[in-house]
Symmetry: C2
Subunit: 304 residues, 2 copies
Amino acid sequence: MKKNDMKLWIVGSIGIDDIKTRTEDRKDLLGGSLPFCTAAASFFTQAGAVGIVGSDFPESFAARWGKFGTDLSGVQHAAGKTFRWAGAYDENMIERETLKTELGVFADFKPKLPAAYKQAPFVLLGNIQPELQMHVLRQAKGAKFVALDTMNLWIDIAKPALVKVIKKVDLLTVNDGEARMLSGKWNMRECADELLKMGPSYVIIKRGEHGAILFSKKGIFVAPAFPVEKVVDPTGAGDSYAGTFMGYLAKRGRVSEKALREALLYASVVASFGVEGFSLECFEKLTIAKIERRMKQMRKMISV
Amino acid sequence: MKKNDMKLWIVGSIGIDDIKTRTEDRKDLLGGSLPFCTAAASFFTQAGAVGIVGSDFPESFAARWGKFGTDLSGVQHAAGKTFRWAGAYDENMIERETLKTELGVFADFKPKLPAAYKQAPFVLLGNIQPELQMHVLRQAKGAKFVALDTMNLWIDIAKPALVKVIKKVDLLTVNDGEARMLSGKWNMRECADELLKMGPSYVIIKRGEHGAILFSKKGIFVAPAFPVEKVVDPTGAGDSYAGTFMGYLAKRGRVSEKALREALLYASVVASFGVEGFSLECFEKLTIAKIERRMKQMRKMISV
């Protein structure tokens, strides 16, 4: 594929994770939002990755990541340490405690869009500082459909900048707590109404193991999570969700209500595979045939 | 309608509630599981109520309740006080604190099935002591499809009796915490598998504002809750859910996978009306036309 054919790029964090679960203790895993987003998207379209790593970033990580067809030319290499995160999950595999956050080179990240990405129509602004989301979005002349993910931290410390960039995007994705913080409302429908007033045409409220709800002027779509039999590591599930969602839309090429709904179901399915292993391990064994098989189950689960 | 035509009876608690929410403080409301269950069922079929009240039970309550067409001949009147419950909701309208529980005559409740109920094919054993559920079920010679609701208390203090009655029923309904307690598993699919092994053909795991999941040998159905714009009082939502569910099945007359799925959607819809007011207030204004209108929205919310 020529780089000019790239339909989607994603900006986000790249990290090295240590993760503890009830039964396992794994160190030095490829993590951060960007690997999950791009690997998940890869089942539908090649994605360009915009991020930063330090000089300690293992070549083996880049090799594994590259196997998903992800274009890594937007990944900057800086002197210093790669972003590191360590966390421990509760036995329910939902609550987690952050044990360590070391920003490293991520602290001075200034995303620069490769020329080949500038005409890409689909953009996923992963969860980074809102000023940087705006900075990189300004370089995206060809962007037609922009999605933005964020987190409570930015709502807390950078709300004006966040509100400014939200105004520019087509789709906002937040979890229920963030929706409440950002809108000042409690009820999810009221939250979504407020968030839609801020600019985006679409708001997705993520509810973890309960799925997500898509709100737009056209109505509401309730997308369940795919009920997974064994959760090994939920890290990155939200990122896989967003990556799949955007990858699927990029493949379809146009955004309709139907395409959005299908995209959400695919997102649930791909994310459900992702949590069945650490890091990208399950995606490495995943095929589109397996995805389609689970999609068929998913459709049965929601049809009357 | 002749009483012998009765298709559904329900056993449960009848109470007088005091309820505090963030904005309101209401006293002496008709409460308990049975009024909610039977009123919700009434939009589909007449239900017989099996319960107990004390000599302080206001006649006006019986009059309001009777307006739903509920047959109250199975309600015993005993000397003493009616069951009383008081609770206060958190501002999220989900968490609640019990401020008072006075069992009153409910402590000595020994349900007796009116002769006219004995041939009814549909039975909902509401959340009461498992020994009493078994006691009343034994009187139900004509029962064809029996659903059982329970709570953490009985799993804690009366598990053997509960397991015994669960073996006799067709459908078990529990929330996710109860499913975990009862099955000893964590993952919802594993929980459901264990619960199905205990006897019932169907297990419904209720997830409050996230809806419910129906598990059976035939598969999984994920039913979302209807997103309500304004929750006034969530008390009784689970009871309205179960009552609607059984009322709808009783109306259809036979239980198929499709009927069960439809029943769950109707249950979400009727329960969503119920929480828009205190006690049975919203049901008093509810019509089948309003239910069908919201059902139409519901179907749109889950179709791709």
